[in-house]
Amino acid sequence: MELLRLNAADIVKSASRGDIASFEQLVLMYQDKVYSLSLRLTGQAQDAEDLAQEVFVRAYRYMNSFRGDSDFGTWLHRIAVNTWLNQKRKIQPSSAYSLDEPVYSDDGEVKREIADMSEEPESVLLSSQMSEKLHRAVESLPKDQKAVLLLREVEDYTYEEIAGMMDCSVGTVKSRLSRARDALRKSFNGYAEK
């Protein structure tokens, strides 16, 4: 709670000057945000932790280059996405995790929950099977498309922000997003036809 009262910009500034204690505060403040995205990108808890750790190590290494033009969390997400994109694909391709696989949290093992959207007519058909299908479809997307899809649809970044994070044009972002959506639709149409 004490952390929340501190001014994030001041902490960032202090960390930029090499104050390791300030950087530790930033880690505490942003660890959930970074880990969440890392888990979405990698699909594996251990890979997510490795990626999230690497993000903070790189952030510490390059704190001097953070000019404060963007939100620090956005900058961390940018590092996460680029680090993940630059990682070589692992030999075992099945990075998808089952929705039945528990998540390890502060409270121990927690079963994944699919939000209950039964009150929303559009979502009535979203059974757990369909969720699994959607999840697998996302996991099977090419890395760049998956990154754009998650940043846009889940993290709610603007096209411009995503373009800045991925060092590409807004047009490229839109194109990748469009292809990702098409792939998911095709996947779901196939499912519906079955």
């Binding site: 959930d32 903070f56 190590v57 959207m117 998650l150």
Partner: protein, 369 residues
């Protein structure tokens, strides 16, 4: 499925999750390790960084990776029976070779902080991710174990804390056992003997020396203590005709000197040339001769010397290690993290020992000889 529904469904699947327990500590350990290594390599690789930034970056990465790798596969050791640490100090003038107390056929552990890797072997058990806390309170049937710690101390006696990670012989899980120990230190050495008293966790205070018994990548117990640590290093950049020939020559010299590299890394540059790094921890007596000999296999820009005090950084990692131990006792989770940090401490310990030098040899191909 339209765009809006897709978005809702995706948000439903990819809900926010919290970072795992101990995540921030693990990050800070990595960062601290990086800081240590960067500082200890700054001068050594200064010239290289000026001339070839890409190599310098690669070098830093390699070294950091080496630190990380030092923590992989670590397991907290446990003797064949429960290990307990103790409160009663040994009589004065006791030395490491005069273990005063062995209770019958019960196991004996002797740990010497001056060289934590040269300890008698103990049986290693597989690490367990979770430790049932209830197991840690069991004290019956606990054999006495003697833990003798020898280390130079200041003129005034210091409080010493022993922390042991043990394995319960019945449950098969390591059990943390924490004890406070206040030894006499009249002869410049501090000692500790074990007992069977219940587990007790007492916060450390400043100026206390912190001891942690754990396992390195070899099946020996290690003792980490808070003391001044300095890494002395020698590095040389050697341009050679072909890397393979150079490596064969270095292999010959390694055999000649009876040494072996503890880390080797290769970097393929964008222009197709190769840079190989080998690092060694060598006794002072042969370090200079070895690096001089190796530098002669190609064109060298001279041997760089570097000396870095890592005391503060090491102590910081030790604090984190202690926090993990306390967390382990409280929650029974985090053994993997504990082992990883212990591995890093061992890695640094090995390099900051008195009487050794870290020798780093860089080979770069492209020059004919």
């Amino acid at each position: 499925m339209d765009g809006e529904m897709l978005r809702k469904n995706l948000k439903a699947i990819y809900k926010d999750v919290k970072a795992p327990v101990g995540f921030s500590s693990r990050v800070m350990v990595k960062i601290t390790a990086e800081t240590v290594k960067m500082r200890s390599s700054d001068k050594s690789f200064g010239l290289m960084r000026r001339l070839r930034p890409a190599i310098a970056i690669a070098a830093s990465f390699i070294l950091i990776t080496a630190i990380y790798l030092a923590g992989v596969g670590m397991r907290v050791f446990a003797p064949t029976e429960d290990l307990r640490t103790a409160e009663s100090p040994l009589p004065d003038a006791q030395t490491i070779n005069e273990v005063p107390y062995v209770n019958g056929d019960r196991p004996v552990l002797i740990a010497e902080t001056e060289d934590p890797l040269d300890l008698p072997p103990v049986t290693v058990y597989p690490a367990a991710e979770k430790i049932p806390l209830a197991e840690s309170a069991r004290t019956e049937d606990v054999p006495d174990v003697v833990a003798t710690v020898q280390t130079p101390v200041s003129d005034t006696p210091v409080d010493v804390r022993l922390v042991a990670v043990t394995e319960d012989s019945n449950g098969g899980f390591p059990v943390p056992a924490l004890r406070e120990h206040k030894p006499a230190a009249t002869n410049g050495y501090s000692h500790a003997i074990s007992s069977n008293k219940p587990v007790e966790i007492v916060p450390l205070v400043e100026e206390q020396a912190a001891f942690v018994l754990s396992e390195a990548d070899i099946p020996h117990p290690s003792v980490f203590m808070s003391r001044r640590r300095v890494i002395d290093s020698l590095s040389v950049n050697v341009s050679v005709g072909t890397i393979n020939n150079a490596l064969r020559k270095i292999d010959e010299r390694e055999r000649l000197f009876g040494v072996s590299a503890d880390t080797e890394a290769t970097e393929l540059r964008a222009d197709g040339t190769i840079v190989v790094m080998r690092s060694y921890v060598l006794p002072n007596a042969i370090a200079n001769a070895f690096v001089t000999n190796v530098s002669a296999i190609g064109s060298s820009d001279g041997i760089k010397r570097n000396r870095v005090d890592i005391t503060k950084d090491y102590n910081r990692m030790l604090d984190i290690h202690r926090d993990f131990l306390l967390n382990l006792a409280g929650t029974g989770q985090g053994m993997r993290d504990l082992n990883e940090i212990a591995g890093k401490l061992v890695y640094l310990d090995k390099r900051a020992k008195d009487g050794v030098k870290n020798v780093v040899v860089w080979l770069e191909d492209g020059v004919d000889f």
